[in-house]
Amino acid sequence: MLDGLVITRRFDTPAWLSALVFLAGIAAGLAMATALLVAIGVPASALFDEVIGEAFMTASGLAQTLTFATPLICVGLSAAVALRLRFWNIGIEGQLWLGALGATAVALGDFGPEATRLPLMLLAAALAGAAWIALPLVLKLRLGVNEVITTLLLGSIAFLFAQHLLFGAWRDPATGFPISLAFDASERLAALGFGRTHLGLPIALAAALLVWFLVDVTRLGFYGRAVGENIEAARAAGVPVIAVTCAFVLLSGALSGLAGGLIVAGTEHRMSLTLGAGYTFSGIVIAFLGRFRPLATVVVAVIIGGVFTASDVFKVFYGISEAVVVLLQGLVLFGVLVAQFFGAYRISRANWGTTP
């Protein structure tokens, strides 16, 4: 059967085909996800109601989805910014932990007047995230150390550091649980009056706009693409490679840190040891699905937020595990990545072996 087929690389992929392939990939991924959920006992009839209906069509569901999406936008942007430079930031969670710790430190220490407390918390979160990725960055630039290993391992160190604080200096003295004291009112992001959504959502959207401007409009963004594609050619063409690399990578760390800050200041209102799990994986999935484009990342983050909302329902009513949620994200990513093959290649029939 396959004998008669010839696969050739396309010279140009038209925009409509890219879009079609992307949508077909999402559809295929969702079909696989549906099959998986049906196979583990979720009735097919309930799927539509739970996913589309509960996650996007009801006010409370949509609010929950947007609340989930807020930090997801930031980690998606973080992964996208780093991956544009082919810098594999596998330590998004680590930077997120540091961001949460930074914001919590400002809140618990009551630094500065109350009016500037929140901006200071978020600034501390971004700086802490950037600082946490600075170490792998310096090691890579100075010594050529592979960032996959260093960012990944620093993620574990960050979690242990959070444990150290929450089982020690920051432990809630009243209950003895490893959580910090609750933040004061001036240290919480204002609610938007729509479910649990908070001021973090517009902040994340503003971050997406800023990142879009940096990577798609400015010269720095142009240089970033060149460094990502061919660092030696970029250097030879006079691109300030080290400055560009530092700017992109530190921005990635700052965005992950900001995600941590938004979680503690927006939804948790205290530091805990459960708030940061799974964000590295989600961030990379979102970045790939959004094809490293900042504004597409926002859309994908909202969709993944919807998956989280629906999964909460599934967990309660059908007893599915957290692992299945990760698997669902993976299936959608898988569908999109495989579908890209059809955008890059043309498939036609051959007429080989016949007498001309």
């Binding site: 693409r225 050619a233 030879a236 001309p356």
Partner: protein
Amino acid sequence: MTETAIAHPAGDGRPVSPSAGAPAGTPPALELAGVHKAFDGKPALIDAGFTLRRGEVHALVGENGAGKSTLMNVATGVYAADAGRELVDGELVRIRGPVDAAAAGLGMVHQHFRLVPRFTVAENVRLALGRRAGSPAAAAALVAAKAEEIGFPVRPDARVADLSVAERQRAEILKVLLLGARVLILDEPTAVLTEQESDALLAFTARLAAQGGSVVLITHKLREVAARADRVTVMRQGRTVLDGAPIASVTPAEVARLAVGATVAPVARPRRAPGGPALTVEGLSHRREDGGVTLDGLTLALREGEVLGLAGVGGNGQSELVACLAGLATPRAGSVALAGRDVTMASPAARRDLGLRVVPADRFAFGLVRGFTVADNLALAALRRGRYGSPLGVARRRIRRDAEAAIRDHEIHGATPGRSTGLLSGGNAQKVLLARELDDAVRVLVAHSPTRGLDVRAAQAVQAAIAAAAERGVACLLISEDLEELMALSARIAVINRGRIVGEMPVEEASAAALGALMVGHA
């Protein structure tokens, strides 16, 4: 180029007549007929055919993009053709990939060798042969025996990464022969070799044919292989335009005309009187990371409007010199100055600001960004000069307009501003790089093998661009292994050998013999 027919050198015992090879009645070793192949709607082969006899060396000639390599890639199953048929020893076959090709006795040595650099030669053979190679010791013995048989010195236990290009090529040929190839297809085998190495390789192909093997030499330089080939097939724009003519029956000029479709005028040497000093290199020394000396007190001076040719066998420090001049490598000693200003430790960007432009030997290593569009590659270097807007915004429309103009002015075929540069042919990608480097602000051009691998017309266009730049007052350092090219363009020719300049002469006094002696001498 002479109009006389090509004669085989006397005394090597090779037949000259078309009766070379197997007796009449024997089916061809390989026959391709009516082959069609298009890449994304763009035809690469149109009704192409090729017939290879047993026991012959067959030259397959044509320009870049004529379809020579594509046709042989179809024959060995690397590409699936859209239509056509293939016969091996008279049997209709269907080759779907390397395993089928090996089973049918077809072996191809590609321009980029299929060897694992970290493995030894014997380990590479084991990788290719699988169980047939036996134990590591048996594989090593197999390699040694085959090397002995074909008269090619190859050490089985040498790591491929440590071998020279010629030795890697031998290892690859050996591997293909051990896989059972009776038809050996060599894609541009002499492009990476010195003259002596080429001679040895071509003598080997003649021996192989004399023993009953068949050899296809894909080349765009017929004269290099003419003396060793029995027949020649010429391709142009995907079609076979001369099908297996005895080599004695055609002249090189006829073949060139068939391959190009028209003859190309040679480029005139720039005649401008040299101006002030443009590039001064003094006592430049550089070592590899492993301590090997690459540049050893190299000194040269280049003036405005002058083309200085730098001849030398590849690997004598040319690449390191280019890297040191571009600011991508740091010399251990010595100095580099542009128009009298010391730039020894300056960044690539600072050197560009002083008008230095570089065309490296491998244009995708540190010249062009493969995944970038043509327009983005053309704009990359000029961005920092503010030509395309402030740091806060990139003037996309202007980039596009400039790219359209450059594509038109430099006749970059197959390019549109939005097309990915990696999809262009070698010659056209080189034109993109030259279009960028020969901008308004260029003062000094360093070009390393700028026409290597290009076909006649593309090479002529590149040489003409360099000559025109020199006429405008640009100082050009032309580093090349092609003495003909150096003598055609340069006012002076220096010779680099083991990282130092071992001689320099005005072009009027230069001869291939004199330069050759300096290039291989142990001064």
